[in-house]
Symmetry: C2
Subunit: 794 residues, 2 copies
């Protein structure tokens, strides 16, 4: 049925019509399409709103909303497909690297909200990463000699896999500018390790893993001389340049924090001097092989090879590495060199040991994608209008010994040896990915398109015009053996015209597409700030909450208990010569000790323990003008060290808005000047408190405590009556609430003792602490009540 | 009419019903509410979708979408109120500080997308801020002596105003930890200046401005001794501690880049030793006065004053500064001291000169908000259940001389002197703000609520339960003389349970509320990463695009042409002793020069000019392992300096994904080892290129150029036929396209000359450059075509 709303300019159809039964007893066949897009002028409500700009008072006014905001028909569906309301969760967690930001952007899909930005290679004050001693040591150990690395350049990260499927243990990313690989754990989304390639100065920004994460795969980008070697610009230099692929061994530990890269067992294999492209490991059918693109050879310094990589007849290849043969060479003292525990296999030995072969490719390869079952590989190209499909199953029967060697002796087969077939897609391409339903998707640069391929028919099933140059492609699980998503994200690195203009540089633009239906539909323009490039992965949002607190006293970078952990009452200052260690604690709303006196020139370390165990109860710490900073999540221990080289009185304080009494969390560092001469003023009395005022304040606080307890009791009764255990989220909150209340039991005797001794200031302080636990208990309890009330109302 | 869908559990009403005229001629009264929320079970479509997770094939399937995603009735309205589709723009631009991140988060409202994150106090590799020489100098000049400040701690920023209304010139933010104020310009959203308080080590994290931005107002947080002074913890120390308010003079310049803070004309006034709270300047009725909250006095080191600030009978006050009297004192050599060109007026002199008075307040003030007309001030409190309204109009008739002095001699009046009235709001409060419609809104901490007040009746009009502890409050223009927004944002700093859990710390949560109607309605949970606190401002999104390019050769930090700017063909390396200056250029897809040879130990500076003028055409630059980095927006000049202390061959390259040939933008830095002895290899031939291959590649490229020109010509015809001038966005793009094509005219003779000389490599390089301009021209033209096509279709 075709309908047209008489008063409307837009012709509409009644796809998706529905029968609405009404109390009037009339069955009406209506089209939501008509209602939503065709009849905005049916705006008969006369309202007297106080702030008239956004329309509507209730959902009955959805018409008004859509009309006033200029939303079109397709926008309504996109809005409903991406909106994640309060209390709901995103279906996927995505992780994007931001190019030179050296950070990981964690986002929810389909809301495309940025949930977290994690410093991997770049100091990140918000997390204290690169500021506290523990994480500074982590970063500094990855830097060469005296340079303090301040950024990283990352491309495609990789998630750890077991049997080819994401296992939620770790994420790996490369730093191209400094040849590093970073490891972030997926239980707490914190960076645990950064290793530096002992052989290659820089690296390709992408990484990949083998199907069991036995290895993390890093390659060079530009070919290099071995570190610190040198040659003038001539043919000799060209002959000595090498690419390389490094296999970092990932060691599974017994605890989550012990999952780490180990130098021992890691190795690198030299490649001919190509500018490398994306790499991937075979899986399923192609298990045991690793592939890396050699996009063009030499680049400028290599005589006889032109410098415009893709345009001319520059050789491009797919390097094919036999992992078992390479491991064997790396394990043999006869065929390897070892630096920093990592073995290196030379190009000549790799060839000799039959660990390396090549398959010739057309010019300008831009990406490599291997199908979930490991059989097919797609290669996209920055030139021409087609992509290449390789059949990796044919690897088993390839006779490398008959392949002609290239200039470097590497056996090199024509693409036909892997049954190469081209599929016409209408333009140069940037990336490809596989979906749950077994489709292949290709991102076309110009004209900007997302193309769905029918690989069996070697034809385009359908496509979506993007309106921008297609960039890299993300499908949840798309690089694993089990893609899961109904979404694709196409990266747009030139987003102008998509957002309000905020200067010459703005956020880049991952563009969300619904690939769940026959037709591909654009859904949303995400904005990613601090990014100079975009590449990413996504996994289903974990059902269980990630780690939300650490065991009290944890050094979070190592996962072990910190030797510097401090429990309440044991706060102290220890001095040896001019070395001062402050062992302090953080808890709402006290920072203990509150006065620290040192001498000018002392080297001072604050070892701080966050005593909290309640969710979200993070504290910060800074000392004015000393550039000292850190972030202490519940249970965490971290240390900050500085030389007190300026005399004076310096406020220090908590830098997280942690409670209503946040301003209380402060103290003073007094740095006594060198050669200070005491004055008459110095003999003035120490600060004291008026006992009567303290007693009055104590009594007022105890009254509040009694009132608060009554509230807590009533909430507890409600929760028990309403069987809070039935909802796991409520149950978790009640557990938190009970734990907080338990803490008050330890405080009570301290209050009583202070009162008995008429030490009113002490009594007030302990009462304040008691109250803080009550507040947190009440807060968690009320959150649980809200969750249960809402689930009941449905 | 009340309806109930027979098969549904949810009772629904028909608010917002509408008449739908259909071609069948039947007029149907239906309720969208019923259709959307009541009848999801009417899911009769049988589909065979390829990737079945997100439902719906067309908007007719909106039912399916809402149902499958578990959206409730109110969610639908919220989705439509916040969704900003491709091609549309957010209505407001908001700016949040992130606590210790030292950065500014720029976001769109109502989509709540993060558009940009700007480094103000923290080095930010993505923008090169704190990495290139120009911005490093900016940051380093703000740090004390040898310390390199790596972060900042900011609270409420302020937008520049003219006559009390945002004027779009600048944003100001404070760094509490280091006593600094940063200035970001609003044309390019780049940080231009960071000044350091010469008197106070640390500061309150909030700033404010006077109605004409004559001054930026910064206060202390904790009271301090003068910098570098020292005293033991005793009564003498307590007597010498001071708070202070600093008035930074903002000098308007003739060009946008010359709007800057000037030390000369800036001054500070000492305050008694309170922990300071929020400040604001009077406006309208209260113009000429500046107000700052003294939240509690002394804190620990002050004898006789208890340390739990708000709970007991600790004096809290509103400091009231007579700006004219203070200016007079600051200008008089008799009553001031001057450091670094900034005058300081002592507490005694401020009292003597009648520049300072105080109004007593209840304990625990948390915020200060002045109404758009300047008459009323609201003060919120962390204790008790009411807020205080002051009538600032009464200031004119206050007799300060009759007011009793406090311990420090400051005349202090009871709150009644300003007609203080309390309004009961049901809990302790965090913040207040005013709206366009003249309402006052208050954020209640517990129970978490947003309250709308009728100030005339001194009563609550309505409230919204938030489900979290209400934090700071943002209404667009809410701190100016002209609030504009239909939205309020309530800050939630403990967001747990609102997002997928990604570890112990996650993004904080600005919560968007629709305040445009009688009822207050929650709309959306934004997530802000890298934040330890949240405070912000918002302004209407500018109609004109912000600055999208710089004049070729601009030092963007100063706004002037850089002495290091370099034009094509003048790239060069200059050496004086061991000091090497490289004058280079960046353009798709060449980084010139491509080989730089230096000696170990040389101090090397790359002065790079981005030759681009096309929007979004930013380039980056890094030298492997030298921790060198920067970002070059179109037209920008910036320099990076390092000591070449490691011998070897180091790739350098562009770090922005700038075009399909991005990988081409690379070169090598060759650092010759100290004492290098030439070998036989060194006399090997220089790299050369095969002329035949070069010629072939050149001819292939020229063919592509001819084809591309045909495409450009057809697009130009289409644009002209379709009168592109009628759409300003299309017209801007066409201007860009023409500018790009113009550049090819300069290239053509160079190609011809190379061909004439049979220098085929040169010919190919110039042809490549020619093609790059064509590509950009075509891209801009096609974007313009798309905009015009879409606007026609509507």
């Amino acid at each position: 049925m075709k309908t047209k709303c008489a008063a409307c300019a837009v012709s509409t159809t009644t796809r998706g019509r529905t029968n609405v039964a009404m109390t009037a007893g009339v069955v009406v066949t209506a089209s939501l399409t008509v209602m939503m897009s065709g009849c905005f002028e049916e705006d008969r409500k006369v309202k007297q709103e106080p702030e008239k700009t956004v329309a509507t008072e209730a959902s009955g006014g959805l018409f008004d909303v859509a009309k006033s905001r200029g939303l079109k028909e397709e926008d309504l569906a996109a809005a409903l497909k991406t909106f994640v309301p309060t209390g709901a969760r995103d279906a996927y967690v995505g992780m994007l690297t931001g190019g030179t930001s050296g950070r990981l952007v964690v986002f929810g899909m389909p809301s495309m909200r940025v949930l977290k930005i994690v410093g991997i290679f770049t100091p990140e004050p918000w997390q204290g990463f690169g500021y506290d001693d523990e994480s500074r040591a982590l970063l500094e150990s990855s830097a060469r000699e005296d340079v303090e690395y301040g950024f990283g350049e990352s491309g495609l990260p990789a998630l750890s896999e077991t049997a080819g499927v994401y296992d939620g243990v770790a994420l790996f990313a490369a730093d191209a500018a400094h040849g590093r690989v970073g490891v972030m754990h997926l239980d707490d989304f914190e960076t645990k390790q950064v290793v530096t390639n002992p052989f290659f100065l820089t690296s390709h920004p992408d990484v990949a893993v083998t199907p069991g994460t036995e290895y993390v795969i890093q390659t060079t980008a530009a070919p290099e001389l071995p570190a610190s070697e040198w040659a003038p610009v001539n043919a000799a230099l060209a002959a000595r340049l090498r690419g390389g692929v490094t296999f970092w061994r990932f060691q599974r530990g017994e605890t989550p924090s012990s999952n780490r890269i180990e130098a021992k067992g890691s190795f690198a294999v030299e490649l001919p001097p190509y500018v490398q492209g994306e790499s991937d490991s075979g899986k399923g059918t192609s298990s045991g092989w690793v592939f890396t693109i050699g996009a063009c050879r030499g680049k400028g310094v290599v005589p006889g090879v032109d410098e415009t990589c893709g345009t001319a007849s520059v050789p491009s290849v797919l390097h094919v590495i036999n992992l078992e043969a390479a491991q064997k060479l790396a394990a043999s003292t006869a065929s390897r060199d070892v630096t920093d525990d990592v073995a290196r296999v030379s190009l000549a030995r790799a060839v000799q040991g039959q660990a390396l072969g090549q398959v010739a490719l057309p010019p300008g390869p831009t990406s490599l994608s291997i199908a979930p079952d490991g059989q097919r590989a797609l290669v996209t190209f920055g030139f021409g209008t087609s992509i290449t499909v390789l059949d990796l199953a044919q690897l088993k029967s390839v006779d490398w010994s008959s392949a002609p060697p290239d200039d470097f002796g590497v056996p090199t087969l024509p693409a036909g040896a892997l049954g190469a077939q081209n599929i016409e897609v209408g333009g140069p391409t940037a990336d490809a990915a596989f979906s749950k339903a077994g489709h292949a998707y290709v991102s076309v640069v110009e004209p900007g398109r997302l193309v769905r391929l029918d690989l069996a028919r070697r034809a385009i099933s359908t496509h979506l015009d993007l309106g921008f140059s297609g960039g890299r492609l993300l499908i949840p699980g798309g690089d694993s053996a089990a893609p899961t998503g109904a979404y694709a994200v196409v990266m747009n690195t030139q987003p102008h015209g998509r957002f309000v203009s905020v200067g010459p540089v703005t956020g880049l633009n991952p563009h969300l597409v619904d690939i769940s239906e026959t037709k591909l539909v654009s859904l949303y323009d995400m904005s990613v700030p601090q990014a100079s490039g975009l590449a990413g992965v996504a996994m289903p949002a974990p059902e269980d909450a990630a780690l939300i607190r650490y065991a009290l006293g944890t050094d979070t970078r190592s996962g072990a208990l910190s030797p510097f952990r401090t429990i309440p009452g044991q706060e102290r200052v220890e001095r040896k010569g001019n070395r001062v260690h402050v062992f302090g604690t953080l808890i709402r709303s006290h920072l203990t000790p509150e006065i620290v006196e040192v001498d000018e020139g002392d080297e001072v370390t604050f070892h701080l323990t966050n005593l909290e165990q309640a969710q979200d109860q993070t504290h910060g710490f800074t000392v004015g003008t000393y550039n000292v900073h850190g972030s202490w999540e519940p249970g965490k221990v971290a240390s900050v060290t500085f030389v007190a080289d300026q005399p004076g009185v310096f406020p220090y304080y908590c830098t997280e808005f942690c409670s209503a009494l946040h301003l209380e969390m402060m103290g003073y560092l007094l740095v006594k000047p060198k050669g200070y001469k005491a004055t008459a003023e110095d003999s003035a009395e120490k600060p004291s408190f008026d006992p009567a005022k303290m007693k009055e304040a104590y009594e007022a606080k105890m009254k509040v405590i009694t009132e608060t307890q009554a509230v807590i009791d009533s909430v507890v009764k409600w929760l028990t009556d309403n069987k809070y255990e039935r909802d796991p989220r409520a149950a978790a909150l009640v557990k938190d609430a009970v734990a907080q209340l338990e803490q008050t039991k330890e405080i009570k005797p301290k209050i009583d003792a202070a009162v008995a001794a008429a030490e009113w200031q002490q009594a007030l302080l302990w009462a304040e602490q008691y109250f803080q636990y009550q507040v947190k208990c009440a807060d968690a309890g009320l959150r649980a009540k809200k969750i249960l009330s809402e689930s009941e109302a449905q």
